[in-house]
């Protein structure tokens, strides 16, 4: 256990303390107790920069389940550190923002911050684990905490729907990823990512290689909301806005991107990897930006925009993987795509984080997020407006913001696809730059919609629930910091190029002895990329202005709805199918269940008797029989069989009593005085209880015999026969001597008692007896409750 491990689990530890702090200090916003932790962690991770800047890494191991080869190995390299800094940095800002966003008197802050801390810890675990099983565990933990946070306002139906949807889709992907991890283990014999990377050349031709690749990608695609799994992300917007900013734009949805980046050294040799990632990424990019334009909810626009930007980063990673794929082309030629991916990942976190916070402010101060109701807020919220301008212009890829730089690099990467000669890319490859360019136009349009429909145009106070005013300063701090980063990175991109980007790149595409060196330039000269940007701006403005004229285009494409409807009907069908399937064997009749139990009993025991050749019949060592005993045996047999045929309940109770008393007589004969006494007492109480209970009950209208049923009879005879055979075999097979002698010798010596049975019960097996008393106590409580408690309102039970 090192300090690094402690850093990863510290959010979990704090999560335990949060409810206590919440209870003790109701006057202080619980967020203030949480806020110091991400700051502390952020500064702690900053200290690793000196190591990773040299493109080195630190590994600390801690045995967790050594017998299965599962160690909690924490590894800090460029990629992991970049994510860790994002998680803690954005985390701190989000916590600060949430302190002003969530009312301490109205919201259940304790659960909110517990979930948030669970997420923070889990996410740190994902990005800093070198062991795949540990990574998977933390991965599912992030899905789980995301589920809880989306459903935070669980009284809203849409929250519950969104939470369930995200859970089903991401956990489905997570399970497939687990399959991929196991396949990797079968090929390499290790769960350690570094060791798997070391063996990547050997497993390349393995038959399981492609299935593992597909399984892992499915996990990454569902988590990072890639088409067609993106449908959960817009519904996840039901979460409180700080959560959307944190989980559903800056960190959790990038876990899939992290996974792709992390596993690139293993899989990138295979062309399928690059083809799938680039293909799905570019499709998602296009579809997300296209769908964003028709949204009317600020957060829905941002959600689709996140989907599309995730697709963009994904496609860049796919193209970047080509650098590992081709040895003929100069590596650095394609590494620009990977550089762009890492760079845009950082930029996206900054501008999208601030935009989500801006949307939260608008929602908080006006009471709506519907752009049809909003407008003209510029004069009321000048600071928020400025922040929105910075964020959206960066998102649209305009200079001088950081989004411009990464967008240019993105174009560069896409244009270079044209020069790859794989899978007849000379025919299909042109789609990449074309789709990229078209998607960028739509990105530009929705960015403009976001800012101008909200802040300019006609002010409609009658549509708003509250009178709009500028947000409190506390709520503005976090987006101001993020927006400043947008500008600073925009002007001085090289402050992060060799501290964050190159080290991350070295982790994504490790080349022995090669040190990445990144320089980002503002001005490349009159390159195709520049003209593409100019084209985006021109066409974007044109289309934005004429939007009302071509908006009806969206009515022609019901596809997006179809995907959601597909999900809904799939859910419904599976629910109904499983209900019907369950109904087939769980039909609510107790007889059916007992038939299952007894049939299984017969089959299992008969099979064991046959297979183990256990049935024996040995009469050599039997006790003597007296006539009286035969008589008693006949009494038991006769009484128990006649219970089956009597009509009245009273008679059957009395016959049961007869069996019980005869059993106690048998106990006398078999030298068991304690049993005989107990049995007599218990039998007397039982019979009186039976009679008492049924004396008070109204008479049944008609008492009837048990109707004869052949199956019942067969099963009963089967059970009886099997038990008889077992009793005979148990008598005839003496496999080991009885341990009775120990008690005979030690009862007096150890426990100073002369009655062996008593001594065993209260001394040797004292705990058994204690629990037996507990069982009796519970039964007594249950009986008391049933007799005393009446259902209120008479018929309420019918609703239960």
């Amino acid at each position: 256990m090192s300090l690094l491990h402690l850093a990863i689990i510290s959010p979990f530890l704090l999560a335990i303390l949060v409810p206590i702090a919440y209870k003790l200090f109701r006057q202080i916003h619980t967020g203030w107790f949480v806020f110091p932790l991400p700051i502390l962690l952020f500064s702690y991770f900053i200290s690793y920069l000196s190591i990773t800047s040299n493109q080195q890494s630190v590994t600390k191991s801690f045995a967790w389940i050594p017998t299965l080869g599962i160690d909690f190995t924490a590894k800090v390299d460029g990629l992991g550190l970049l994510f860790a800094l994002l998680i803690t940095g954005i985390g701190a800002l989000v916590v600060l923002y949430s302190i002003y966003y969530l009312d301490k008197n109205k919201e259940k802050l304790n659960t909110f911050y517990v979930y948030l801390l669970l997420f923070m810890g889990a996410m740190l675990g994902v990005v800093l684990s070198d062991n795949l099983i540990v990574l998977y565990t933390f991965w599912e933990f992030t899905s789980f905490s995301s589920f809880l946070l989306i459903g935070y306002w669980y009284h809203r139906e849409k929250s519950r729907y969104g939470a369930q949807k995200s859970m089903i889709i991401t956990v489905f992907g997570g399970l497939s990823m687990l399959g991929g991890i196991i396949l990797l283990y079968m090929m390499t014999g290790t769960f350690s990512i570094s060791e798997i990377i070391a063996q990547s050349d050997e497993i390349f031709s393995h038959v399981l290689f492609v299935p593992a690749l597909l399984c892992i990608l499915l996990g990454a695609f569902t988590k990072s909301a890639q088409f067609p799994f993106h449908i959960w992300l817009p519904d996840a917007m039901e979460a409180p806005t700080p959560v959307s900013a944190y989980l559903h734009s800056a960190t959790m949805v990038k876990a899939g991107i992290y996974l792709v980046a992390r596993m690139s050294p293993v899989f990138a040799e295979h062309s399928l990897w690059l083809w799938l990632i680039a293909g799905f990424g570019i499709t998602t990019l296009f579809w997300g930006s296209f769908s964003a334009v028709k949204q009317t909810d600020l957060k829905a626009i941002l959600a689709f925009s996140t989907v599309s930007q995730l697709g963009m980063i994904m496609s860049l990673l796919g193209i970047g993987a080509a650098a590992l794929h081709f040895e003929t082309v100069d590596d650095s030629y394609f590494t620009v795509a990977t550089t762009a991916a890492v760079f845009h990942l950082i930029n996206h976190a900054t501008f999208k984080g601030s935009l989500f916070m801006v949307a939260g402010i608008v929602d908080h101060e006006t009471g709506t997020r519907d752009i049809r109701k909003l407008g003209g807020l510029m004069n009321f919220m000048p600071i928020t407006f400025t922040l929105a301008i910075i964020g959206t212009f960066s998102m649209a890829g305009l200079p001088p913001f950081n989004g411009f730089l990464s967008k240019e690099m993105f174009f560069t990467g896409m244009v270079r696809v044209l020069e790859m000669d794989i899978f007849n890319l000379d025919t299909w490859g042109f789609l990449f730059p074309v789709l990229a360019w078209v998607a960028s136009v739509f990105t530009f349009i929705y960015s403009m919609i976001l800012v101008f429909k909200t802040f300019t145009g006609k002010f409609q106070p009658e549509q708003l629930e509250k009178k709009p005013h500028e947000a409190p300063i506390g709520m503005l701090i976090s987006p101001i910091i993020l927006a400043s980063l947008v500008i600073i990175i925009g002007f001085f991109p090289n402050i992060i190029s060799n501290t964050l980007i190159s080290p991350a790149q070295a982790a994504i595409m490790p080349v022995e002895g090669y040190v990445y060196d990144t320089h980002i330039y503002f001005w490349h000269g009159f390159t195709p990329e520049l003209f593409m940007t100019l084209g985006v701006i021109t066409l974007g403005i044109l289309l934005f202005v004429t939007l009302p004229k071509w908006r009806s285009v969206y009515n022609l494409f019901p596809e997006k709805l179809a995907l959601n409807r597909f999900y809904d009907s799939m859910l419904e069908v599976s629910q109904r199918a499983s209900f019907n399937l369950t109904r087939l064997y769980m039909n609510g009749f107790i007889r059916t269940y007992l038939v299952y139990i007894f049939s299984f009993f017969i089959v299992a025991l008969a099979a064991t008797l046959v297979l183990k050749d256990a049935f024996k019949f040995d009469t050599s060592d039997v006790a003597t029989i007296h006539y009286a005993e035969v008589l008693l045996a006949l009494v038991i047999a006769a009484a128990s069989v006649s219970i089956l045929f009597v009509k009245s309940r009273m008679t059957s109770i009395i016959l049961l009593g007869a069996v019980g008393y005869t059993v106690s007589l048998f106990f006398v004969i078999f030298r068991a005085p304690d049993l005989a006494l107990t049995q007599l007492v218990i039998e007397t109480i039982s019979v009186s209880l039976f009679l008492l209970a049924f004396y008070h009950l109204p008479k049944l209208r008609h008492e009837e015999r048990i109707r004869f049923k052949m199956t019942n009879a067969l099963i009963s005879v089967g059970v009886g026969a099997i038990v008889t055979m077992i009793a005979l075999s148990a008598h005839s097979n003496k496999m080991f001597p009885s341990i009775a002698q120990y008690y005979v010798e030690n009862t007096y010596k150890e426990a100073a008692g002369k009655n062996m049975v008593n001594v065993i019960l209260v001394d040797f097996r004292g705990f058994d007896t204690m629990f037996e008393i507990t069982v009796l106590g519970i039964a007594a409580l249950g009986i008391f409750a049933m007799i005393k408690l009446r259902l209120e309102g008479g018929k309420k039970n019918e609703n239960k």
Partner: protein
Amino acid sequence: MEILMAFVIGILFMSATYLMLSKSLLRIIVGTGLLSHGAHMLILTMGGLKKGAAPLLGENAPSYTDPIPQALILTAIVISFGVTAFFLVLAYRAYQELGTDNMDRMRGTEGND
């Protein structure tokens, strides 16, 4: 004797099973009662019958019967009494509330089970 007991136990189990498969709640409870008698006798028989004096050291006998099955059965008798009593009161209350002791009619109706 053991052989005879084996058949007695078989009959007890058989009747118990048949009762438990019936529709009447009371008969099911009676069935569990018979089943526990059968189980007790089974445990006792498996330990061997009449192998010596009662397991009381005061008897000063050369050999005693096995005390362990007896200890087990003693616990089982008490537990089965607890279960039977619980069942019985459950049946009593169910009968009061629902007006039937027919398991099929007690089964939840479509939609609210």
